[in-house]
């Protein structure tokens, strides 16, 4: 680079530079602590506006104006509030909080402000979406009708989830809530569904493990992880789900399908409670503020299936709630249950009985129902639900074994087989056509002769055989969503052949 060139470019830069004089509105910190600052001055500030604090060491810290009072403003601070002092200057930005959105975020781990946490460099994004946005209205939506395949047999068959639905995953700690969500993400590979995993107040070690697993299964390339760690301020936890939702809405507006997981909203409510109490808002039940219902309803209402005129994109939300000792009647669980379109209820007892996913089929529902199922699955799963329900009623009698009549015994046997078939390992999502095949086998009573202990082995062999011999059946189910009589016959033959080969 020559000396002349340097001078020239500098000259052109200087020529384009203009001393800009702007009148700024500034305020002063009058009180600061616990991530909250009281600021005086700043007339005309908007609610939920971003404010810029200038710390004593000239670094910039951002905050969010939440309480607008007569003589002061209550601001929650993102980041290191310890650096702030009384008397520090605060500037308006005249912007509502925004996050970067777009393709650049896929495969990344970011904090709720869109800043990278994975050491892969800056997020190159040109577009921004406001964090808080009003959910699409009636005109902009259409009913939920396409299935979102989770790859988990028990969910896809009994409590199907549709694109644009909000399905709650609820259960005690250590019942496999996150595992279920991660499996659902892994299963979206090659299905043109983008995933956003929002971790709220989670242990960073757990997130590191999840990211590694997603990478291992090739799922990270279509996934964004939004992380507000346990050690970070409550403010970041508070905006994390809204930021994740904004990132998802961008893709929805582009006509694509998005799966959003909020892990978990109980910690989100706790973070919001902390902020509210520090802002001196009056506490209500369980010390949560009065608007904690609205906090979650406005978030989950943003899940939608857009009308065809708007591109037909969708945003499916899977919020997670952690209960204490199975108590789903606490404040936050009841709120979120009433907001969502159904819940998947996981139980500790079932988990330790070895039924994994530990899903309680009685308490779990999906209000969208079979509208979100392919025809082939509808055919086989209708009877499955009935069998499971009858089994639950009779289960208590199972111990009387020999005293029972033939019909009851048969029901119980059937129930046991169905329960066994619905078990599934972690990180092993199963494609819909294969699910149809195994459920078909058990529902038709073809497996009555096979010992329960051998069912897992049988399932594996069946999947192998179906992908080989029954390739065209799987293809038909995959493409048309249904199976013809001819395919049904073939499927049945494959199953019976396999039983003959050593499962009697």
């Amino acid at each position: 680079m020559s000396y002349d060139y340097l001078v020239k470019s500098l000259q052109s830069q200087l020529a384009s530079w203009q001393a800009e004089v702007k009148e700024e509105t500034i305020g002063e910190v009058s009180q600061v602590g616990d991530g909250i600052a009281k600021v005086s001055g700043l007339s005309g500030v908007m609610s939920a506006e971003m404010l810029e604090f200038e710390a004593a060491d000239k670094s910039k810290i951002y905050g969010l104006a939440l309480n607008l009072e007569e003589h002061s403003i209550g601001v929650v601070i993102f980041g290191e509030y310890e650096k702030l002092q009384e008397g520090d200057k605060v500037r308006r930005t005249e912007r509502i909080l925004e996050v970067p959105v777009g393709e650049a975020l896929l495969g990344r781990v970011v904090n709720p402000l869109g800043e990278p946490l994975d050491g892969k460099g800056q997020v190159e994004s040109k577009e921004f979406y406001p964090v808080e946005k009003i959910a699409p209205g009636v005109i902009k939506r259409q009913s939920v009708k396409e299935p979102l395949q989770t790859g988990i047999k028990v969910i896809d068959s009994i409590i199907p989830i549709g694109k644009g639905q909000r399905e709650l995953i609820i259960g005690d700690r250590q019942t496999g809530k996150t595992a279920l969500a991660i499996d659902a993400i892994i299963n979206q590979k090659g299905k043109d569904v983008l995933c956003i995993y929002v971790a709220i107040g989670q242990k960073e070690s757990k997130i590191a493990k999840i990211v590694a697993k997603l990478e291992e299964h090739g799922a990270l390339e279509y996934t964004t992880v939004v992380l507000a760690g346990a050690s970070e301020s409550a403010t970041l936890s508070f905006i994390a789900p809204y930021a994740g939702c904004a990132m998802g809405e961008y893709f929805m507006d582009k006509g694509r399908h998005v799966l959003l997981i909020y892990d978990d909203l109980s910690k989100h409510a706790i973070a919001y409670r902390q902020m509210s109490l520090l802002l001196r808002r009056p506490p209500g039940r369980e010390a949560f503020p009065g608007d904690v219902f609205y906090l979650h309803s406005r978030l989950l209402e943003r899940a939608a299936k857009l009308s065809d005129e708007l591109g037909g994109g969708s945003l499916t939300a899977l919020p997670i709630i952690e209960t204490q000792a199975g108590d789903i009647t606490a404040y936050i669980p009841t709120n979120v249950i009433s907001i969502t379109d159904g819940q998947i209820f996981l139980e500790t007892d079932l988990f330790y009985k070895g039924i994994r996913p530990a899903l309680n089929a009685g308490l779990s529902v999906s209000r969208v129902g079979s509208a979100a199922q392919i025809k082939a699955m509808k055919k086989v799963a209708g009877k499955l639900k009935l069998d499971l329900a009858q089994f639950r009623e009779l289960e208590a009698f199972a111990q009387f074994g020999s005293d029972l009549d033939e019909a009851t015994k048969k029901q119980i046997e059937m129930g046991r087989r169905v329960t066994e078939i619905l078990k599934q390992g972690q990180y092993k999502p199963i494609d819909q056509p294969l699910q149809v095949a195994i459920i078909y086998a058990v529902i038709q009573g073809l497996l009555d002769e096979v010992a329960i202990e051998k069912l897992a082995e049988f399932e594996e062999k069946l999947f192998n055989k179906m992908t080989g011999e029954g390739k065209d059946v799987l293809k038909e189910i995959g493409q048309t969503g249904d199976f013809s009589e001819k395919s049904e016959k073939k499927m049945k033959k494959i199953i019976l052949d396999l039983i003959e080969m050593g499962f009697k």
């Binding site: 830069q13 530079w17 009148e23 700024e24 509105t25 500034i26």
Partner: protein, 135 residues
């Protein structure tokens, strides 16, 4: 009651009592106020009470307190210019207070109410630096 509320209440009380009072009466009010502070052991709040008192007075009389920060002392003509500027912008009469700050290099900073007009060379150099660093 916290400290800030106490300061506000005391300042408002003093202003209310001293308003429209003449020489002798005014002295009595101030004396009594001093005795009250002494009796209640509130003397340490005095500087802040005076600040608050000034704020109340300016608000009542519709005056904008203007702080002018510059490197060297400004001459009367320049000050008159600033007063005109603030009066036009805020619609209030202005009361100036001058400060000096060597770090500014040149130019002035004008502050009134919660507004800030940064006309200093230092600020312009910072913004130039920002622009050059962006490329």
């Amino acid at each position: 009651m916290n400290k800030y509320e106490q300061i506000k209440i005391l300042a408002a009380a003093l202003y209310g009592a001293a308003r429209d009072k003449k020489q002798a009466e005014l002295e009595k009010v101030v004396d009594n106020f001093g005795l009250h502070l002494k009796g209640k052991k509130l003397m340490s709040l005095l500087p802040e009470i005076l600040n608050e008192l000034e704020r109340i007075y300016f608000e009542d009389k519709n005056i904008a307190a203007v702080q002018v920060i510059s490197k060297n002392k400004l001459n009367d003509e320049q000050l008159a210019e600033i007063i005109r500027l603030v009066q036009n912008k805020s619609g209030k009469s202005a009361r100036l207070r001058q400060c000096q700050d060597d770090e500014l290099i040149g130019g002035t900073i004008v502050r009134y109410e919660d507004k800030l007009l940064d006309l200093s060379i230092k600020n312009q150099l910072t913004s130039l630096k920002k622009q050059l660093a962006n490329y």
